[in-house]
Symmetry: C2
Subunit: 217 residues, 2 copies
DNA sequence: GTCTATAAGAAGATAGAC
DNA sequence: GTCTATCTTCTTATAGAC
């Protein structure tokens, strides 16, 4: 890891804990193991460090979503082929989403930093919404579009179904960001959330049987 | 409005726009229409102003939730008496919750300020979770407990039902906090969310008819 | 209670030796 | 590339006149 990278890493850690304005150039230098003036051989200003973090994290994000989209679409097609998805699969899908977002070191710190800096300019607002709201919703909606085609769920709007699936996960994620001690509670809630989600959205046996009865009479 | 109150009001506005550390005592003074040193006749430090905002907003919050709890419980009992609640009532409930949270001037600014400062200490973390997550969830859960007793909804856990109802509203609220231009889009989504929420949770006509058929045969 | 003047120190950034 | 020394500006806060 180059010195430039190490500076970004330590700066991100500090920014995610205290916010941009509460971190001083000397703090970053100390975390890297040098004095403040040395930083200026690598970055021309404090703001420059912040911008470099944005650029680096946006590259990471693009790589990860590219991977996820490949896996995701495969998964989507799989369940479409099977024309069914078990409750357990849904639970695993939600839990994995939550755990990755929460525990990936860079993702987690970057999200906390963006949470604190999101109101400072239009680009940061847009970036936050894209990464934590719009892209996940769009990803989930594409999955549910596949699942709905399978016919095991009620005929509803996939984008609203995605909202119902993702919003509780997002909300509990923000809870754990500020209160990490509530992770177990959050995981328990997510499991119950997805089981109930599955229960209310799935065409149930009685209903199917009922339609069969009608069809035959 | 006393000078002390005016200082708090302007400080809250500035803190909610730029965050505590990015606002200087001189900025607050200028907003009030005085010079920085004059502020120190009313508050002994910048931090003291911040703390006074917390105290004042917590008092407001207690009053408002006390009112809401009274109205809320009345509403809850009403629907329980009628043993039914229309889709429209649910939509109105969600829309009102959203619009109040979003447009109440003090509530809105305070939420943005807390969003930026929530990681700075344990008390602020707790306060944010209480006001924007735990209390609203608990309030909605008590309403759904009433509604479930009415028998028009499927037999599910009211706290998870509250999560499904509130989480999308909360998430869209944070979107509008950072991108106010998306309010119409958010309102549209909330309406669709609640209609679909009503559709999937309500014991539907076919299902009822089906059970009738079975009961008779 | 508000002001001008100013102290006291913090924080970002640069100069120049090594 | 890193350091010490230093500059400049900003920021909180106080002193004391009015």
């Amino acid at each position: 890891m180059t010195t430039k990278q190490k500076i970004l890493k330590e700066a991100l850690t500090l920014f995610s804990e205290k916010g941009y304005h509460a971190v001083y150039v000397g703090d970053i230098a100390a975390a890297v193991g040098m004095k403040a003036p040395s930083l200026y051989k690598h970055y021309k200003s404090k703001k420059d460090i912040f911008n470099a973090i944005l650029v680096e994290m946006e590259e990471n994000y693009k790589k990860q979503t590219a991977e996820l989209r490949m896996n995701g679409n495969d998964a989507g097609e799989d369940v479409s082929v099977f024309a069914a998805v078990s409750e357990d699969t849904l639970v695993q899908m939600g839990m994995k989403l939550f755990q990755f977002f929460l525990h990936d070191d860079y993702a987690s710190k970057f999200r906390k930093m963006l949470t604190m800096e999101q109101f400072h300019d239009h680009d940061l607002s847009h970036l936050y919404s894209k990464q934590y709201i719009d892209d996940p919703l769009s990803y989930e909606a594409s999955i549910f579009t596949f699942l709905l085609a399978g016919g095991v769920f009620k005929n509803v709007k996939p984008d609203i179904m995605a909202l119902h699936f993702y919003a509780p996960i997002y909300m509990l994620l923000t809870v754990c960001d500020r209160q990490p001690e509530r992770e177990m509670e959050a995981l328990q809630l997510i499991e119950e959330h997805i089981k109930q989600f599955n229960f209310i959205y799935r065409k149930d046996a009685e209903n199917e049987a009922c339609i069969d009865t009608w069809t035959k009479s």
